[in-house]
Amino acid sequence: MVKVEGLDKLLADHPFFKGMDDTSRRTLAGCARNERFLAGEYIAHEGSPADRFYFIRSGTVALEYHVPGRDGLILETLHDGDVFGWSWMVEPYLWSNDIRAVELTRVFSLDATCLRKKLKKDNALGFDLYSRFVPVMARRLSSTRQQLTDMYGKS
């Protein structure tokens, strides 16, 4: 019980959950756990089951594509207050890229299987959570599109 209350506090402090009611947040905290990753450690690999998603408390992670014969190609870095791992929402629930801790990174994560069960029973919470994820995804898509324009290249 003490553990859940501690995690609830972590959720309350993260900007992603700003404005969420206490009951919903406690429900989510029941699926949460605290984690830390050392610099260079891989948190997820492309194609592996997306059974957790993550909220950065402190540190930096890199979203990468594995490129045969060379180091990963970094697509974006994420920092304190960012969220990663929305593959848990989309079938077949597999990571779409690698995730690597660039430095010592502290996160809390939510168990996707646990959460999917809860959201099936609580549609209001599901709507709230999806409403928070969609702007994150939209922003990430917009950034990717800007990067695709190669705006700093020779015009």
Binding site: I74, D80, Q146
Partner: protein, 282 residues
Amino acid sequence: MTANPKQVLDAMTPVPFAITKRTQDLADTFTIELEPENRSEGFVFQPGQFNMLYAFGVGEVPISISGDPAKPHKLIHTIRDVGAVTHAISNLKKGDMLGVRGPFGSAWPVEEATGHDVVIVAGGIGLAPLRPAIDAILANRTQYGRFVILYGARSPADVLYRKQLQTWRGRLDTYVDVTVDHAGHDWAGNVGVVTRLIGRANFDPHHTKVLICGPEIMMRFTIQELATQGVDKDDIYVSMERNMKCAIGHCGHCQFGGHFVCKDGPVFPYGRIESLLQVRGL
């Protein structure tokens, strides 16, 4: 508009300058230092202004001044080798001559920004026209609030003025954040678009002047993000790039709606040109 025929003639006549130093900054970008002859006062300019550089026998190009305005005896230009004229200039060596007309155009609001936080947002070679403003602000650092420099480049190999960015970052009174669009494992910095740096720069959006220079698409998204953060459009200044030829508002090549970029710009308050930026093909 310059009406006096002698003033027009003076403004249209290139003055020969000798190249005193040439530095290769990036694979396609170099910096030249020029020394004015017979000018005891040096080459006085304001941050944000540009010169027309004439490669003899090839042609002229508008290039922003990228040196320190407090050091007028050293005229500095950082140039990207993208066309016939800039390529000809890139082939010049120490001791070669170059024609210079200028300085022309409007300036960054360095004076008006005193008492405010100042946020510099630069993309690619857009850092070069902003460097004189950075120098001017740092020379009077106590006159300003929080000072933020945000810079985006294509890759780690394309980061311009890398040593100077490190020097600025090393100061205890300046916040510097750099990002690149793509990188490998040998880069431990940010990867992502420059707009992502704005939210964590921790400035006061209601008491901030923002100076932006970079590709127009980057400036557009930067302005959108600044609006999200609560920055008023009248506190945003952008440097526009158009096809400048005469540099004194006579030829019309750089007409931008009711403005001539060479004379009314290149630095504009965003509020003045906001509607024009949404006109396709302008």
